[in-house]
């Protein structure tokens, strides 16, 4: 009964999306005013129905209702409750339902609160949102119905992939989805603005919180995903340039570019066409990413829900939405009046360079991800990895970071270098000193060395805008920028330190054996069998001491899950402020010895602290922008009220 209610809600939501599209299109004419009045309520109702449908799926998973096919295939009654609740998005159907739910919630929110744009532009935007939504509803209802029944119901479910039975998973996909879907809002606004020819600073102010919000979620999602892969896969790496990872990185790069160009449009009414194009591209990248991951068209080490038939469906959707938007853009771009002018040596100039570099990075990642697909069409199999991405990416990343350190110091419209010469030269001098010092002392490889030096330049450059300003009167948005840019420096430092100074040891140890890895002495005390709710494991008891200090115990495990049967290695970590000890237990080696893999990774955690700082900066900016918007709104309302009084 619950499943049928959920399905009915989904069908109703689809119908409302149809109404929303119809009203949005017909409402553009005077004769359609009746229908136009229905658009906002339809969007809100659709959001409520979708949320209800998603709620029923969560309930079905929580109760392990095995008469529902999706639950039987992906859950198990012995699974801990938290992973049952996270179950709906550990599979294709459920995650698509989550996608459409978040998207309709965003649409409902726009319908409820957004009053700044001309009504026709808003109608066109909501129509575009409904048009995109309809495709995904059709996808769900036709080819991936999450509420399908199984008759007769099996006695037990198949269980969830053990790699995914982790708290990191419970939060990772919903976070990324909020990001992807937030970009769909920017996409719809861009289409709405193009259709009604309303590319104005007001448009930029309206989409900015959405872009910022989506970007924060993407940043958090990628950071969390990277850490999850780092400790769960047990390989000790934090980024593999895998298609699945690239799929989330590409929208992030596009969103980062969009975020900066939106600021230019809002503040200076420049970069109009470019901003619209980025709005289209950012969401396109989310969809292409979803397609790559879901269709199995490229081979990925962690594609968890692959199906070529569904790939065809998504490809058709991609063609309609991305193709349609690009064609619309190509025909309308000429009608958008040129924005304000500026010189290269200005804040806008720096932001343009940033945009070009980010777009180039996006192109590089896209090319690297799709290159195997291209050569395979000619019968050649290749795999593209770090030897391509790292150096080629650095070529564009390094100049961009240099501009990042300088740009925020420049004034809008036009500025001269002489004004900011002193602090900039100081920052780059420190960077050069770090470069030379590290090269002489540590003899690092070129890329980590450049990364380390640039981290210093960006670190100093990012806090320079605070010089001579009262912290109390600093706008929250500016503080957010400083924090986010500083986060970039922190993350970059972590990456450079990890790649230059990591130490790896692979040993076969007897009980009582001690291994030295970097500043750590690790002793294997014993190996014990342990049991969990749906797994058994061999657990190594290691005692590790840092530079001869008091030893701490850590326990890496080799786990065997029995539903479905699979082995995973649970790494165990010891975190200090200056790095992490990473330990993995492998198999038994001739009877009385155990394979241990130990890493000392200096400052590796700074990568994720940096990511968190970047997201925090975004959050501060978002709060700052929303507060200003609210203030503006009350002022406007007060002015309007006073006018009414005067007229009366």
């Amino acid at each position: 009964m619950i499943a049928e209610l959920g399905l009915a809600a989904l069908w109703l939501a689809t119908a409302l999306a149809g109404l929303q599209l119809l009203g949005g299109v017909l409402g553009q004419r005077e004769s359609g005013a009746d229908l136009a009045a229905l658009v906002r309520p339809a969007a809100v109702m659709q959001a409520l129905l979708c949320a209800f449908a998603f709620g029923t799926l969560v309930l079905l998973f929580a109760r392990t209702d095995l008469s529902v096919a999706l639950v039987a295939q992906n859950s198990h009654s012995e699974k801990p409750l938290i992973f049952k609740i996270a179950g709906p998005w550990g599979n294709h159907e459920g995650s698509m339902l989550l996608w459409i739910t978040v998207m309709s919630l965003a649409g409902g929110l726009i319908a409820l609160v957004e009053r700044r744009l001309p009504e026709k532009t808003l109608l066109a935007t909501l129509a575009a949102q409904a048009f995109v939504g309809l495709g995904f509803y059709a996808f769900l209802l036709v080819s991936s119905n999450p509420f399908e029944r199984l008759d007769p119901a099996p006695a037990q479910g198949l269980g969830l992939n053990p790699l995914l039975q982790d708290i990191g998973l419970a939060m990772h996909p919903p976070t990324l989805y909020c990001g992807y879907v937030g970009l769909s809002v920017a996409f719809s606004f861009a289409v709405g603005a193009l259709l009604t020819r309303q590319v104005t600073p007001d448009f930029a102010r309206v989409i900015r919180p959405w872009v910022l919000g989506a970007w924060i979620f993407l940043t958090l999602g990628i950071t969390a995903g990277s850490y999850w892969a780092y400790y769960e896969l047990g390989w000790g790496g934090w980024w593999f340039w895998d298609p699945t990872e690239n799929a989330s990185l590409m929208p992030w790069l596009a969103a980062t570019a969009l975020l900066h160009s939106v600021s230019v449009l809002a503040a200076r009414d420049a970069l109009r066409t470019w901003t619209i194009l980025l709005g289209v591209v950012a969401f396109s990248m989310s969809m292409v990413g979803t397609f790559l991951v879901r269709s199995g068209v490229v081979t990925s080490v962690h594609a968890f829900a692959v199906d070529p038939q569904r790939g065809t469906f998504i490809l058709v959707l991609l063609t309609i939405y991305i193709g349609g938007a690009l064609v619309l853009f190509a025909t309308r771009a000429g009608t958008i009046a040129e924005g304000e002018r500026f010189t290269v040596m200005s804040r806008e100039g720096a932001l343009v360079i940033n945009n070009v570099a980010l777009s180039a990075l996006l192109g590089i990642v896209l090319l690297g991800t799709l290159y195997p697909l291209l050569t395979e069409a000619f019968g050649v199999k290749v795999s593209v990895g770090p030897p391509y991405f790292n150096p080629v990416g650095a070529v564009f990343l390094m100049p961009m970071l240099a501009v990042l350190a300088v740009g925020p110091l420049l004034r809008w419209r036009r500025d001269s270098f002489a004004r900011i010469r002193l602090p900039v030269l100081a920052a780059f001098a420190v960077g050069l000193a770090v470069l030379l010092g590290m090269w002489l002392i540590a003899g690092m490889a070129l890329l980590p060395l450049l990364g380390m030096a640039m981290a210093a330049v960006v670190g100093i450059g990012s806090v320079l805008p605070l010089l001579g300003r009262s912290l109390r009167r600093l706008p929250l948005a500016t503080l957010g920028m400083v924090v986010a840019h500083f986060g970039v420096a922190v993350a970059l430092f972590g990456m450079a330190a990890d790649s230059a100074f990591s130490i790896e040891k692979l040993v076969a140890a007897r009980q009582g054996d001690t291994t030295e890895v970097g500043p750590w002495r690790v002793t294997l005390a014993s190996v014990e069998p342990v049991a969990g709710p749906n797994w058994t494991a061999l657990e190594a008891r290691l005692s590790a001491s840092y530079r001869g200090g008091a030893p701490s115990e850590i326990k890496p495990q080799a786990r065997s899950f029995w539903a479905p049967p699979q082995q995973t290695s649970e790494s165990a970590l010891l975190t200090r402020w200056n790095g992490q000890l990473y330990t993995v237990i492998g198999g038994e080696a001739d009877g009385d010895r155990w394979q241990l893999r130990l890493w000392w990774k200096p400052f590796v955690t700074w990568i994720w602290y940096g990511g968190a700082l970047i997201a925090l900066g975004g959050l501060l900016a978002l709060i700052g922008r929303l507060r200003t918007d609210l203030k503006r709104r009350t002022v406007r309302a007060r002015v309007a009220a006073r006018r009414m009084e005067a007229a009366a």
Binding site: G311, T312, L315, L326, A330, G334, L374, A377, A589
Partner: protein, 178 residues
């Protein structure tokens, strides 16, 4: 403005091309295995030292002595290799001459593995850096090659030898001239 137009329509064309590529690749069957490009070619020259004392090592000359052979790429650390051991024994009992290459393995580990799972090999070479493995076009363990009497690679089997594969491998061995 004209340049802008060209750029924009270029973008549309590029996207169309990309989606065409996607559509083409989706319609292609996906093969999960990477076949060796060495099939039909002579085995490259190599000379591997013995992996265990009781068997001689393996050189490319041993594979061109007129008698077709099965070349099994294995390792003691490889779980599917344990699974395929009974079927290698069956192949040996059926008269196949099997030679092995132990990949990235220590002698004492290989010896322990052979004691546990039986030793169907007439020769075992020791390939510590996967050099020979890569040169014959093998991308993982276990893999089994059919080599004819002239040292030419005739067939490649990827993954463990299942019960159903035994007859096929004997057939391929026969085709190679046994």
């Amino acid at each position: 403005m004209i340049r802008g137009r060209i750029f924009l329509w270029g973008l549309v064309a590029l996207t169309a091309g990309l989606f065409g590529l996607f559509a083409y690749q989706l319609s292609q069957p996906k093969d999960e295995f990477i076949q060796s490009t060495m099939i039909g070619k002579p085995i490259p020259p190599f000379d591997l030292p013995p992996s265990v004392p009781e068997r001689p090592g393996l050189a490319s000359g041993d594979l061109a002595d007129g008698q077709p052979k099965l070349l099994n790429v294995f390792a003691s650390w490889c779980v599917p290799c344990i699974a395929e051991a009974p079927n290698l024994a069956r192949l040996e009992a059926a008269g196949a001459n099997i030679v092995g290459i132990a990949i990235r393995d220590r002698s004492q580990d290989t010896e322990f593995f052979l004691r546990q799972n039986g030793n169907p090999f007439s020769r075992i070479g020791r390939d510590d850096i996967s050099a020979v493995q890569l040169s014959i076009g093998s991308s993982g363990v276990p893999e089994t090659f059919v080599i004819d009497g002239q040292g030419i690679i005739r067939y490649q089997h990827i993954g463990d030898i299942r019960d159903s594969d035994v007859a096929l491998l004997l057939e391929k061995l026969k085709e190679a001239g046994a």
